[in-house]
């Protein structure tokens, strides 16, 4: 079965600094895959390389076709990227943020919005509120909600747990898992909290200094003591 | 570091030599032209400290030149307490008066960022010419004031134009050295830090307000000196001597020459001279270009040409001539780093 997303020796640099030195990975349809590793390993850059937010060389294949290297084109292709820092439009209302999420879709927003409110009722309560005044957890929910408004085939998530209380994080991950199943979308998540990520992901890749060093199913990785200690920090 | 310093000192020596020796090879009128270019150079030097270093854009520096010019004119013609001042002595006074005006503008300027400041200073440039017309008994109104023609002092055996040349470039050299010392030292580094990141500069203890205001005052001082020299050279002043467009030319010259580049400043100064003082020759020259039907006598054609050239130059060289040179010659040329 051809994978939904395939990276083949992708390199990326920020000016003179090479962040990715040939990363290859794949995500199957409806699969939950994690990208793990220490700070600076290149996890965020990997997501950016997919969405085209950073200059990359090497191909990214999505749904069998080469992805263009521009973020607006990848969004239109069916990929939703929730970046580091959530990318919320803080000056706009919650509702406007959601409207923007559905930018690439035509037709009425009502149904799509209903879906989002089903997962995150708190967003409906705060529909008219300015997004910047939401709490951290609510902003994360908004970011996720915005992502699925477009009914993407693949969601790229960058550090969803960052800055959030553990209880909230668990809740968000559970909603995420539910969304994945019900929407039939694949998730590629970057996480520092390896334990949490592996609890939900089917497979994972571990990056170090811009390269994939270990990969396998979650069970394999969790069972492997040395991997856990060297790369996952626990 | 040492090598750089050595190169710069050598550069200064060479420049001093050139200044001293060049008049031997050029005729009298060319000496006059060089002098005028020198005056614009001084003004641009000051402006580059303000814009290139502390990152504040001023579209109103023509007004500071005018302040310097009027100071010189008033002191020379009306004098102080009935005592007419020799033109030479008015130069530093003109600089100081303009400098104080610059400080006064610099204080409220602290509260304005980037383009707000550009607009306000543009407003100053537009408003200033109204003042002489309004307070005409003091400023001489539209007729202005007439000074004595420039004369070499103490009976020095040289032509007035040559004297003007030496006077201007001597002052320019001194001011250049001062600027160099200023920028190498703590103030210069502070300004650079401010330009690159105000937040970082402030948090490392740099007193933003002092340095930014100081930059304004210094740049105005330079402009005032330039304006004073200019009035001395022309021996008269009226509101048309420092028109609104001059402020625009100053910034355009800075942009085309490239911020923070010595060669760029010279190029820019020459550019202003051509535009402001030799416009007719330019239109004549353009007449000789048969290919495009650029008859500069048709109304509006000079503006079209100049505007188009400005756009093309800035699009082709966003960092100006200085930036181009820096790209070609790498870090050898200028120790003045610009991230712009």
């Amino acid at each position: 079965m051809t994978p939904l997303l395939e990276l083949d020796g992708v390199e990326a640099r920020y000016g003179p600094v090479t962040a990715l030195r040939g990363v290859s990975l794949e995500v199957g349809e409806g699969e939950f895959v994690a990208v793990l590793g220490a700070n600076g390993a290149g996890k965020t850059t990997t997501l950016r390389a997919v969405s085209g937010t950073v200059r990359r060389s090497g191909d990214v294949i999505f749904k069998g076709a080469k992805l263009p290297r521009r973020p607006d084109a990848t969004a239109r292709a069916g990929i939703a990227h929730v970046p580091e820092g959530r990318g919320t439009f803080s000056e706009l209302s919650v509702w406007d943020n959601l409207r923007l999420g559905a930018y690439t879709r035509r037709g009425s927003l009502k149904e799509d919005a209903q879906r989002v409110f089903k997962y995150f009722p708190r967003l409906e309560e705060r529909k008219g509120q300015q997004a910047g005044t939401l709490s951290g957890g609510e902003q994360q929910m908004l970011a996720l909600g915005r992502a699925i408004m477009a009914r993407p085939k693949l969601v790229l998530l960058d550090e969803p747990s960052l800055g959030l209380a553990p209880l909230l994080v668990t809740e968000i991950f559970e909603r995420l898992a539910a969304m994945k199943t019900e929407e039939g979308m694949a998730v590629l998540v970057v996480e520092q909290n390896a334990n949490l990520a592996l609890a939900h992901a089917a497979r994972a890749y571990v990056l170090e200094v811009g390269r994939v060093v270990v990969t396998g199913s979650s069970e394999e990785l969790r069972a492997n003591e040395s991997v856990r200690r060297s790369y996952l920090g626990y | 570091m040492r090598i750089k310093l050595g190169l710069e000192l050598v550069g200064f020596l060479v420049l001093a030599l050139l200044i001293a020796v060049v008049p031997r090879w050029i005729d009298d009128f060319t000496a006059y032209e060089f002098a005028i270019v020198g005056m614009y150079f001084i003004a641009l030097l000051g402006l580059s400290i303000l814009t290139g270093y502390s990152g504040q854009i001023s579209l109103g520096h023509g007004a500071f030149m005018a302040i310097g010019g009027y100071t010189t004119a008033i002191l020379s013609v009306d004098g102080i307490y009935g005592h007419q001042l020799r033109d030479l002595w008015t130069i530093p006074i003109a600089g100081v008066v303009a400098g104080v005006a610059g400080l006064l503008v610099g204080v409220p300027a602290l509260r304005l960022s980037g383009l707000y400041l550009a607009l306000i200073t543009f407003g100053i440039a537009v408003s200033f010419p109204q003042l002489p017309k309004r307070f005409d008994h003091f400023f001489g109104g539209t007729t202005g004031k007439v000074l004595n023609l420039v004369k070499p002092p103490f009976g020095l055996d040289t032509t007035p134009n040559n004297w003007l040349y030496y006077l201007t470039w001597g002052i320019a050299f001194v001011l250049l050295v001062f600027a160099w010392l200023f920028l190498r030292g703590k103030p210069g580094r502070a300004l650079q830090a401010i330009r690159d990141s105000e937040l970082a500069a402030a948090s490392s203890g740099v007193n933003l307000a002092t340095y930014k205001t100081l930059a304004f005052g210094i740049s105005a001082f330079y402009a005032g000196v330039a304006g004073s020299l200019y009035v001395i050279s022309r021996a008269y002043i009226n509101p048309d001597v420092f028109p609104i467009i001059l402020s625009v030319y100053l910034v355009a010259a800075l942009a085309v020459g490239g911020l923070n580049s010595f060669v760029g400043l010279i190029v820019g100064a020459a550019l202003i001279y051509v535009l402001q003082n030799r416009a007719d020759d330019v239109t004549q020259w353009l007449n000789h270009l048969p290919a495009l039907d650029l008859d500069p006598k048709r109304p509006g054609m000079p503006s079209v040409i100049f505007g188009a050239v400005l756009i093309l130059v800035m699009v082709a060289l966003p960092t100006g001539v200085g930036g181009l040179l820096r790209r070609i010659f790498g870090p050898l040329t200028s120790r003045l780093y610009s991230r712009s």
Partner: protein, 300 residues
């Protein structure tokens, strides 16, 4: 300092004239703000763009079209022009130092001013506006129909724009592109086109301002220069990134300087602009972002 004679009737007339002036400043100021918000550029050529399109309107009317027939044509042309200018002239320098971009728009202003002179020649022209110049009686005060018309058109335009920005998808995308271009791209917005669209809208606003003011002053290539300065002042007063600020600032400025010019002898007609700027400068000391603007911390 104050002028002796004062009648309430004249005062009301002055206020009306001030509102009319202010409406024009507001339109142009709004154009400036739209461009500033989306591209962080001050379009020094805004006035000349407006003048140029007004001349086009004049030519169209000379060829027999009525004002209201020419109106939408001119708006469409203005939009296309603004759009094209952003893509062709501004895009190449959008990452250049601020000084460079300033010079580019100044160069553009020069170019357009020259082009206008070139194509239509200097000298004044009569521009037959759509409103009659007779006065009607409003609560005992004679007010010109033209003034009312100008204000009405400006208000309608601003209202339409407001609705457009709030309720349409395109308007939302435009707002988003100005606020957060990176996030906008991630949801699929073609930010580049949005910026050009913003310029097109601004050009349209300028065209309307030009066509409204031309019947009042005479149509000549330098028509909009002073008005542009007042529009800058209004935009700064209201806050460069606030559309509401532009409108309020414009009206406030219009009324204030009309009254100042008429009733404060010291100001007269020559010192109107300098005094206006001084007042705004004083305001900016207290509120650096203008009345409605926000002050952003400059980051490295």
């Amino acid at each position: 300092m104050l002028v002796a004679a004062f009648t309430w009737t004249e005062f009301a007339q002055q206020i009306a004239a001030g509102i009319r002036e202010g409406a024009i400043y507001a339109g142009l100021a709004l154009a400036i703000v739209i461009i500033y918000r989306s591209t962080r550029v001050i379009n020094f050529a805004q006035g000349e763009m407006a003048t140029f399109t007004t001349f086009v309107a004049w030519s169209l009317m000379n060829h027999g079209l009525s004002f209201w027939t020419a109106f939408p044509i001119v708006l469409a042309l203005a939009f296309t022009g603004g759009f094209a200018i952003e893509r062709i002239v501004i895009r190449p320098v959008e990452d250049a130092p601020v000084v460079t971009i300033v010079i580019v728009t100044l160069g553009l202003a020069l170019l357009l001013n020259g082009l206008t002179s070139l194509i239509w020649g200097g000298g004044n022209r009569q521009f037959r506006g759509p409103f009659s110049t007779r006065t009607i009686d409003v609560a005992g005060v004679p007010i010109s129909v033209q003034d009312i018309g100008i204000v009405a058109v400006s208000v309608a335009l601003v209202a339409l724009l407001g609705l457009f920005f709030r309720f349409t998808k395109l308007g939302l995308a435009l707002r988003a592109s100005a606020l957060n271009p990176d996030s906008s791209r991630l949801v699929g917005v073609r930010v580049g086109w949005m910026l050009a669209f913003g310029w097109g809208l601004a050009a349209m606003l300028g065209a309307v301002a030009g066509m409204m003011v031309a019947p009042v002053v005479f149509l000549d290539p330098n028509m909009m220069q002073t008005i542009l300065l007042y529009a800058f002042a209004a935009a700064v007063l209201g806050g460069l990134d606030s559309p509401i600020g532009a409108v309020v600032g414009g009206l406030l400025l219009g009324v204030t300087i009309t009254l100042l010019g008429r009733y404060v002898g010291f100001v007269g007609q020559t010192l109107k602009l300098p005094v206006a700027l001084l007042l705004i400068l004083l305001l900016l000391i207290v509120r650096p972002g203008g009345l409605f603007g926000s002050v952003t911390v400059r980051r490295a």
